[in-house]
């Protein structure tokens, strides 16, 4: 049982590390609350799973998986997918905003050039 205890301890340490890192990042405004939420959920999930080790056995029996760790893998991979989707949405959003800003910058630059020309003409 010594090994199992070690891995549970490791899981707890890791999840606490994730949770505090997310907390610190949000506090330091390096991570938006919107994106922090999904990370907090995953951290909390790992923590709960490490503390209550029979929860996973109960859950895998519930969904009809014989080998509990594979149920855990399935859940974690699903989480990773959702997280990546989240990131893709965020990138698409950034691209959209970036495009709008770029266009606006180009148009504004043209306007500035025209104004400069006009001013130069008037001053002469």
């Amino acid at each position: 049982m010594g090994d199992i205890d070690k891995i549970h301890l490791l899981g707890m340490v890791f999840s606490l590390f994730v949770l505090t890192s997310v907390g610190l990042l949000v506090r330091g405004r390096l991570l938006k609350e919107k994106y922090a939420l999904v990370w907090l959920l995953i951290g909390a999930f790992i923590l709960v799973m490490s503390v209550f080790d029979n929860l996973m056995d109960w859950f895998s029996a519930l969904i009809g998986v014989d080998y509990a760790p594979s149920a855990l893998f399935a859940i974690l991979i699903a989480c990773a997918y959702l997280l990546l989707l989240n990131v893709s949405v965020a990138i698409s959003d950034l691209k959209r905003h970036n495009k709008a800003l770029t266009q606006e910058l180009g148009l504004t630059r043209l306007r500035l050039e025209e104004l400069e020309k006009k001013v130069n003409r008037l001053e002469r």
């Binding site: 495009k99 770029t102 266009q103 606006e104 910058l105 180009g106 148009l107 630059r109 043209l110 025209e114």
Partner: protein, 234 residues
């Protein structure tokens, strides 16, 4: 078209060999229209030559791609309240004198957008078998999904009226925008028609759709069309 104002939008990316002639032709054949070149972060002298030829030039700070470049033109047209926008590509494929045909078609049909088609009545344009196949596919897709006949959905040679300008300034597809823009406008209840025009084979440079990119192009555009069709709001 009387006192109505027309803006010619010329998207250009590394077209220093073509841009002078394109602008000279536009000035000769469409006098009275304003010319806006969208320099999509070219690495050559496209912008300088366009300015020297007497066009207004928007310099984009990084390469947005054809969709983002053309939309910049629509935004400009919207802000300056132009009545019509014509897209003429900077590579010299589109012949400015043919804009007359687009105008006549718009007057005749009363539609909001007129596409200059290479395949309607005119048979001067040689294109690859692959591209022909793709265009046929889109023809059927449009017929099934939107119940309109478009023989050349990938043509960028188009005349838009004020209603289209408003819609497209807000939303314009980014990557391969031409077929997708048709769906967008149709979804807004605008009318689209086509007229046959002549086009030149390009003189310098290469088409953006190379052989190995074309399956991706087909897939991407088909998907965009399907998504655009399923969108309820613009």
């Amino acid at each position: 078209m009387g006192n109505e104002r027309t803006l010619i939008v010329v998207p250009a990316f590394n077209e220093q060999h073509n841009i002078l002639r394109v602008i000279a032709d536009i000035r000769k054949d469409i006098p009275g229209a304003d010319i806006l070149v969208i320099n999509d972060c070219s690495g050559d002298n496209t912008a300088e030559r366009a300015r020297a030829a007497g066009a207004q030039v928007v310099d984009l700070p990084y390469n947005l791609g054809i969709g983002g470049a053309v939309q910049t033109g629509f935004k400009y047209a919207c802000a300056h309240q132009y009545d019509y926008v014509v897209q003429i590509d900077g590579d010299g494929q589109h012949i400015p004198a043919e804009v007359r045909k687009l105008r006549l078609a718009m007057e005749r049909t009363g539609s909001d957008m007129v596409i200059g088609s290479r395949f309607l009545n005119v048979h001067s344009f040689k294109t690859t078998c692959c591209r022909r196949l793709g265009i046929r596919f889109f023809y059927w897709l449009f017929l099934v999904l939107l119940h309109i006949r478009v023989t050349d959905s990938t043509s960028g040679f188009r005349l838009y009226n004020k209603k289209c300008i408003g819609v497209l300034a807000r939303h314009y597809p980014s990557d391969y925008p031409e077929p997708d823009a048709i769906v967008l406008l149709k979804k807004q209840g605008l009318n689209i028609s086509e007229t046959g025009v002549e086009m030149r084979a390009r003189q310098h440079g290469e088409s953006s759709i190379t052989a190995w990119k074309s399956p991706y192009y087909m897939l991407k555009v088909s998907l965009s069309i399907l998504f655009s069709c399923s969108r309820t709001r613009c």
